[in-house]
Structure formats: C-alpha cells, structure tokens
Amino acid sequence: MESDAQHKQSPYMLIWVVLFVLTMMEVFYAFLELPKVWLAAGLIIMAIWKALLVALYYMHLRFEPKRLWVLAASPLPLVAILLLVVLRENF
C-alpha cells in the first residue's frame, strides 16, 4: 500500500505511552476540587486528544489520502448539530 514507509516510522510505542499518561492524568484530574464545568471541559479535551491520537496513528489516518480524512470527519457536523440542539432543549 502507498504508505508502507510511513507505517514503519509510525511511533506506535510513543503514542502508547502518551495514551497511558493521558489516562492517568484524566483519572487524577477528575477528582480535583474544581467547578464542574472546568472538570468536564478538561476531561473532554483530554478524551478528544486521546481519540485523535488513536485515529491519526493507530488507524493511520495521518498516512491516508486527504479525502479519507474528509470521509472520516463527515459525520462530526451531525454529531455537533444533535448535541447542540439537545443542549438547547431545556426540558
């Protein structure tokens, strides 16, 4: 496949360490005495960060043609729409 070379350089173990550290940080951060908003924001940022690392390196998105990125990102606007409306909806 086109990107054999990059795959060999793909820093699997480094990513693994980062993911491990981030998970630890999350658990630590979740129990800090902070306002709920801060906690939620921080945790979500870290979670998305981890998710991106997995997608980019383990799922090789980083080495795929651009249009596959577009494909992979295509449902995200819908996710945003649903969640936004859901949040505006105060029952």
């Binding site: 496949m1 729409i81 409306v85 505006r88 029952f91």
Partner: protein, 600 residues
C-alpha cells in the same frame, strides 16, 4: 475495480467472476450474489408488502367511511380484531390503531424504502456506473436475507397475543414504551425487533452502494457524468448510513424499556418522552428524503429520456440533491412544533425548514424547463414521471403550511398532514416507482410491459388517487384529527361523514385498480414484447448491454466519454448519444476533457 494488490485479493468474491452458467438453482435464484437478481428479490418482496399495506388501508377506510358499522366479510377476522355483533363484525379500536400503525410502518419501511433503495439501488448503480457488480456481493445478499425475516416478524405480530403494535408508525413513547397503556406487549416488541433487523439490512446496503459508487466507476465516469438516478441513490445511501444507526439505538432503548424495564422514555422514572421524539425524527427527517430522493432521480432519468432533451441544469440538480441531504439534518424539529419542545427551537427549525423547500423547488423548475422545447413521447413511463412531478408539486406546496409554525398549530395531527404525506409518498415516490419499474422492466426481464394496459392503469390510478387524497386536505382544515377511530364522536366533525364515505369508496376502487398493474407486470414477464438492448434510445451505460444483462454485466469494461443526457445533440445523427460513443474528432476543439482519476 480495486486499485491495490490487497484490493485484488479482496475481489475474490463470488458473483464477480464470469463463470456463472453452471450455478445451481439455489445460488442463482435464492442465495444469489448478482445485484440484478437481488434487485428482483427486493422488488417481489416489497411489492407483496405494498399490497398488504394497501389492504390494511382499505380496512381502515371502512371504519372511517362507515364508523362502527359491521364490515362485510369482517367476520373472517379473529374476534380480537373484529367484535362479532348481531349485524356482523365491527372493528375494534385496538385493531384500528394496529391498522394505522402497521399501514404506515409497512408502507414506509417494507414497501417504498426497499423498492426505491433495494430495487433501484441494486439494479441501477452497478449498471449505470459500468461496474460488473456491487463492491461486496455477499454483503448485498445478506442485506436482502436480513430484510426477509424482518418482514416476517412484522407480519407475525398481527397474530400474537394483544395484536400488532398500536402506537402509530412513530411509536411515540410512553404509549409505545409500556404495554400497560395499549394492551400490546409482544406486538410492540416484535415491531421494534423487526425494524432493528431491517436497519442492519439497510446499513449493509448503504455501505455497499457508497463503496461501489465511489470506487467502482468505469473509466471516464467522472462525478459529474454520473446519471442522476445513481446520484440520488448515492446520496440516499449516505443518509441511510448516518440516519439508521440513530433509529437503531432508539429502537433498542425502547425495547429495553418494554422488556427489562429501563427508564429511558418512561416519565414515571423521570425518563424523557421527548427524547424518543428527538431521536426518532433526527432519523425520521432524513428518512423522508430517503423516500423521495431516489424517486426524484428516477423521474429525472425518465423525463430527460422521454423529452429527448438534456436534463435542464444537471449540475444544479446534483447540487440540489446534496443540499437536501445536508439541510435534511437540521429540520427534524418541525415534526415537534406542538410537542412541548422549547418554542425558541421551534422558530429556528421553522426557518431551516423553509430553507429546505428551495432545493425541491429548484428540481421542480428544472424538470419543467427540461420539458420546454422538448420532443415529448407520452408513453407510460413518461406519464408516471409527469404524474410524479405534478403531485410532488402539490405535496411540496402543502408542506409550506406545516412549516409555518402558527398554521401548524391548527393543522398538526390533522388529515391535512395525512394528505401531505400521501401526496409526497404515494403521489411522489410510488408514481416514480411505477415509472422506474416500467422504464427498466426490460433490464429485469428482457421484455417490455404492455403499453395500453399501463395507460389504463395510469389514468385510473391518477384520477382515483386525487379523488382520495385531495379532499383529505379539506378534512384536515375542518379539524379532523388523524389516527382517529371514530371521528363522529366529535359533533363538529359529523358533517364530514359524506366526504369520508366518498374517500372510502375511491380507496376501494384505487386499490382494485392496482390489479391491472399486477396483471400487466406478470403477464409481460412471459408474454410481453421482447425488448432490444436499448428500447428507449437512452444514453446510459445500462442500455449498452443486452436486456436482461448477463452476469457480470459488461463483456468488457465500458469507457465513458460524456454525460448521460446528451439527447438531440448535434454531434449525433440520431436524437441520442450514448455515454460510450467515442467523440467525433473535430480539428477546432481538442478531444474531450481528460477525466481525472479522482473524479470531479
């Protein structure tokens, strides 16, 4: 058509090789992986469900035309459905609710959707883009064989204790979430399981269609040379792909509420009934376009061909389809204006809903402009297609009334809505399906349908159809609410009795009329006039192969040189110019533009 060596290995699929002549019967007709056979399988099954749905409608209409009066022959139905009285069997409200629910469910999920997506998706996509078959033929077969048990479960629910689901095809919680409100336990659960299985079937199909269109187009078939039917089916597949999982999740949560007693939609445990409506319509509105986009595509094909004229504004047609697909995701709230949703949201949903009317308008005007200065052949596919346009106009315009929130306050949940949805789904989708089946019948059975019979069927159906559904607007405006077992309970609705009786009469005739098409359909299969490869003098790739096309479709991979609607082109001596015809070399202008491998 794969590009890499992995791809080549992956192509080791049955149905892609060309050694099919010695296929055993069961592999050829039952567990076939040939997209054309799967298309036919979908067609037969969903036409059967179309008949079932129609019969359910006649039962419903009897109760509305003759409320509480004994139904002739109703006695043959079990007492759980029809209460025996001295005068005869009278329909029970439980059964009426089941009829309302199952008519909607079967027509939408087991008739119209599989006809448009299952039949035309399978039949047209590979043929029109010049592929030998779908990308995943076995997945394709699985898609059909998942739909069958789903349909069986749905029908079986009529026979179970408590009867079939009776909470409407939208199954609003909590009515649907606990049997204690309706007395329907197993029926509702079967409904949920059946639709979940059907969801998997649709997903399998969608993955297949998208992959096929993206990756398996013949050389030269750039994005903007793809016929509009395939464009519509491609976008539809994307909608299915992204909308069905939302429904599946909601269905399973509702099933949990029903069976193991979770709290998602049950207010008694602080569950949220509106959550169901949000999830259902977040799926449900894209679903509406799943049900109309392929019909638009079919109509575009037929109209351009029978008017012998290039489709007016091909690019804007494609862009309109795409625009609908995007906007379709931000309008679902217009089903919930009166639901107790935040009125602020109501306003924003109204605006987005108004906006989505525009792409549909664009397509309509383009169809009209295609007819302008055409050479219109009024044979049956064209008649059905023109009926689609004229009735879709009505359905689209009546939608504007509901989009306006204050007006919707009054007409919401009335027969105005019933009229609207039937003008779009029956007048729109179903007439397009008639057009499509008639038009591509040669590619399925190698023969043409009987023209006079079709004209009879068209005339009767068109007239009766309008006699049935046009007055329903007026019923709604008089305030007659939908899904109502006996409207005469309301004093102010009693004057509507005559009109309801009139509609009922027309419905019986309308359903009876369909026998003409059914007869023609089967008769032509054996006795119809043999069809040449290209009976309609059409440009598409599917018309370059014999009728019906052999396994593997194309003897050699076709090369595409132009768009699909070059009718009456000066470049050609006849009034059509196939996509595969090599361009005439003219010294003044270079050969055709080079198709980039990426497509447009």
């Amino acid at each position: 058509m794969s590009t890499t060596e992995q791809g080549m290995v992956q192509k080791a699929e049955p149905g892609v090789h060309h050694d099919h002549h010695e296929l055993p019967f069961i592999r050829q007709y039952i567990f076939s992986t040939d997209h054309k056979m799967i298309a036919k399988q979908f067609m037969f099954v969903s036409l059967f469900f179309l008949v079932v749905g129609g019969l359910l409608a006649t039962l419903m209409r009897w109760q509305l035309g003759y409320p509480g009066q004994p139904m002739p022959g109703g006695g043959i139905l079990p007492d759980a459905m029809m209460a025996p009285t001295p005068g005869g069997a009278v329909m029970l409200p439980e059964f009426y609710n089941s009829l309302v629910t199952m008519h909607g469910t079967i027509m939408i999920f087991f008739a119209i959707m599989p006809l448009l997506v299952g039949l035309f998706g399978n039949l047209l996509i590979p043929l029109q883009i010049g592929a030998e078959d779908m990308a995943f033929p076995r997945l394709n077969m699985a898609s059909f064989w998942l739909a069958v048990p789903a349909g069986i479960l749905m029908l079986a629910s009529f026979g179970v204790e408590g009867g079939a689901a009776g909470a409407g095809w939208t199954s609003y919680a909590p009515l649907s979430a606990s049997g204690e409100y309706t007395g329907v336990y197993l029926g509702q659960q079967l409904w949920l399981v059946s639709l979940t299985i059907l969801g998997f079937s649709s997903l399998a199909g969608a993955v297949n269609y998208i992959t096929t269109v993206v990756n398996m187009r013949a050389p030269g078939m750039t994005w903007f040379r793809i016929p509009l039917a395939t464009w519509a089916l491609f976008i539809t597949a994307i909608l299915v792909l992204l909308a069905i999982p939302i429904l599946a999740g909601a269905l399973i949560m509702l099933l949990f509420d029903q069976t193991i007693g979770t709290a998602f939609f049950l207010p008694e445990f602080d569950g949220e009934p509106l959550l169901w409506q949000h999830l259902f319509w977040f799926f449900g509105h894209p679903e509406v376009y799943i049900l109309i986009l392929p019909a638009m595509g079919i109509a575009s094909e037929v109209i351009a061909n029978r008017a012998r004229k290039p489709i007016f504004g091909y690019h804007s047609m494609v862009l309109a389809i795409i625009a609908i697909a995007f906007l379709g995701w931000i309008v679902w709230g217009h089903h919930m204006f009166q639901s107790g949703m935040n009125p602020m949201l109501g306003t924003s949903f109204m605006i987005s809903t108004m906006a989505i009317a525009v792409p549909s308008a664009i397509k309509t005007f383009n169809w009209l402009a295609t007819l302008w200065k055409g050479d219109i052949h009024l044979d049956s596919p064209m008649l059905y297609a023109l009926a689609f346009v004229s009735l879709f106009i009505i359905g689209g315009l009546s939608g504007i009334f509901m989009a306006s929130t204050p007006v919707d306050v009054y007409i919401h949940d009335t027969y105005f809505i019933v009229a609207h949805i039937h003008y779009v789904l029956f007048g729109g989708s179903l007439f397009a399906i008639f057009a499509g089946i008639t038009f591509w019948y040669p590619k399925m059975f190698g023969r043409l349908m009987n023209e006079p019979l079709n004209k009879v069927h068209f005339t009767l159906t068109f007239v009766l159809y309008n006699l049935v559904f046009w007055p329903m607007h007026n019923l709604g405006l008089q305030g007659m609410m939908r899904r109502i077992y006996d409207f005469t309970q309301y004093e102010y609705l009693q004057p509507l009795q005559p009109m309801n009786r009139f509609i009922t009469t027309c419905v019986f005739l309308l359903v009876a009329t369909q026998a003409v098409y059914a007869f023609n359909f089967f008769w032509s299969m054996f006795k119809g006039e043999k069809a040449s490869a290209n009976p309609w003098n059409s440009n598409g790739l599917e018309w370059t192969v014999p009728s019906p096309p052999p396994h593997g479709n194309f003897a050699e991979t076709p090369v595409v040189h132009r768009g699909p609607y070059e009718y009456s082109s000066p470049e050609s001596d006849t009034d059509f110019l196939p996509q595969t015809a090599p361009p005439r070399r003219q010294p003044d202008r270079p050969l055709e533009p080079t198709p980039t491998p990426e497509g447009a």
